[in-house]
Amino acid sequence: MHSRKSILWMFLAAALLALPSSAMAQKVEGHVGKLNGHVDAGKQLYFRYCWGCHGFRGDGNGENAPYLNILPRNFVSATFKCRSTPTGTLPTDEDVFNAITRGFYTTYMPSWTALTHQQRADLVVFIKTLSTRWTKEKAGEPVKVPAEPALTTDGIKRGKELFAKLECWKCHGQEGRGDGPSAATLTDSNDQPIRPYNFAAGTRFKCGETNQDLYKIFMTGLDGTPMPSYGEQIKPEEAWDLVHYLRTLQVTHNSAELALWQGTKEGAEIVKAAKITGTPTGSGIKQ
């Protein structure tokens, strides 16, 4: 036991010396609010808490990775799901910070609120040294999220029409149970099977809980997954209608949208039927 531990420490020390090159590290900065991230501090934290899954080089091939069915983020390819920036662009420092803070529900990535804000900012900078993309490209311009319009029944109905027209149901299913006709064949960019979000199950959203977060998901897409960006396809007011409708699909999750929708005859029938049919964890797909 003791000798194994000392070998591990030797390996860690070698890792700290070997990676990454300090020349590269110096080019990268990270700022979250008023906090300046420090690469060296971030490196220490990374090789204490993160490398077991995300790997020695940050390529997502840590020693735990073979046991995880959702692979750890590959910081070398630097494709990130939860961004405020358009599809294909790098996220902002805040986006990465928020991902560390929030963790990724339904994956093995925990919420790192046990680390201080400064420590999380330090990790953001260190993660940016793991890919050359951060020295070649700037983060994307964050997608503008206009003020949320007042919630109305008409807005929910327009959102419902959009859900049909944009064919969200092809993957997410007519009732948002994640069981659409294309659901079973979906894979992520690692060729791993991936399930579309099941609204009826009411689990937390991966990229944040607010309506603004939901808005950003379809205006930016979740890069590395089958969820595309609709940023060039729908107008901001349409995106808000869709947000309000999607909340009504979360039939096990109390919201102002669900309450309003259930107050209408049409909505009450749909919600009642959705609660009766299927299980809260989805129908056709094995968990």
Binding site: G88, G221, P226, E232, Q233
Partner: protein, 251 residues
């Protein structure tokens, strides 16, 4: 893609050198003869051996796609003519241009989605040249390139709308897929120079206006792999090449 049952073998290399050929006169263009003082590399890609059984595409996930192919549809992975010409092989100069640089042409390249199939199956274009992606289907697609040397992105495309894209760096070739329709898969070959071609139905290709010099010519096929040949060309010359892709399927 992985675990392919086919391997590629570079077989006979037929090199014919037609010396002292009179260079064509006039302004060079893509459809003209070669520019004065340049060379042509042309030839054929061939498929030898037992052909893989055609893969029938199951479009049940989307009836709006299936109804456009009443007779069914097979995948475009390996398309060989009765004479053995292999279609959709990307033939290009992989080495020998030194540090020459080439500006991308201003006109875009178009790729169409119709019947939930990409046309052409292999798109070839220049780095930073615009690619116009058209959706002529009644269904929504998503355009999802999976590059290793360019940025990954993923955009939804409603019927009748367009998505414009560029790829900044050379990459042969970027897999392109639609997640909604899992059979939709094609490749985008991105070049930093103009010396590339995709073989036609008969397996033919032609690279024009090549400056005299020593080159490595590579032929790449999505399922059968790649093979290379080293050549020298001189001003006014034409070089003929044959690339043979062999199947070891069914052994």
């Amino acid at each position: 893609m992985k675990g392919k049952a086919l391997t590629v073998l570079l077989a006979a290399t037929v090199v014919l050198f037609v010396a002292g050929r009179e260079p064509a006169r006039g302004r060079p263009s893509a459809n003209d003869g070669p520019a004065p003082g340049t060379a042509v590399v042309k030839g054929i890609a061939k498929f030898e051996g037992s052909r893989p059984a055609p893969t029938h595409i199951n479009m049940n996930a989307d009836p709006s796609c299936a109804k456009l192919h009443p007779g069914g549809l097979v995948s475009e992975d390996v398309l060989a003519s009765p004479e053995g010409g292999l279609q959709n092989v990307v033939v290009f100069v992989s080495e020998g241009l030194g540090d020459r640089t080439f500006d991308p042409p201003p006109q875009p390249v178009t790729m169409e989605q119709k019947g939930c199939v990409y046309a052409p199956h292999i798109v070839s274009l220049r780095a930073n040249q615009e690619l116009d992606i058209v959706n002529n289907d009644a269904t929504t697609h998503n355009i999802h390139p999976a590059p290793s040397n360019n940025r990954e992105w993923n955009k939804a495309q409603a019927p009748g709308t367009r998505v414009d894209a560029t790829f900044a760096r050379e990459e042969i070739a970027i897999p392109l897929k639609c997640n909604i329709h899992p059979w939709m898969r094609s490749y985008i070959a991105v070049f930093k120079h103009p010396f590339f071609a995709v073989t036609d139905k008969a397996g033919n290709f032609e690279l024009k206006n090549l400056p005299p010099g020593d080159y490595t010519i590579e032929a790449w096929h999505e399922k059968l792999g790649k093979s290379i040949q080293k050549i020298s060309v001189s001003a006014g010359g034409t070089k003929e090449l044959e690339f043979v892709f062999k199947s070891t399927a069914g052994h």
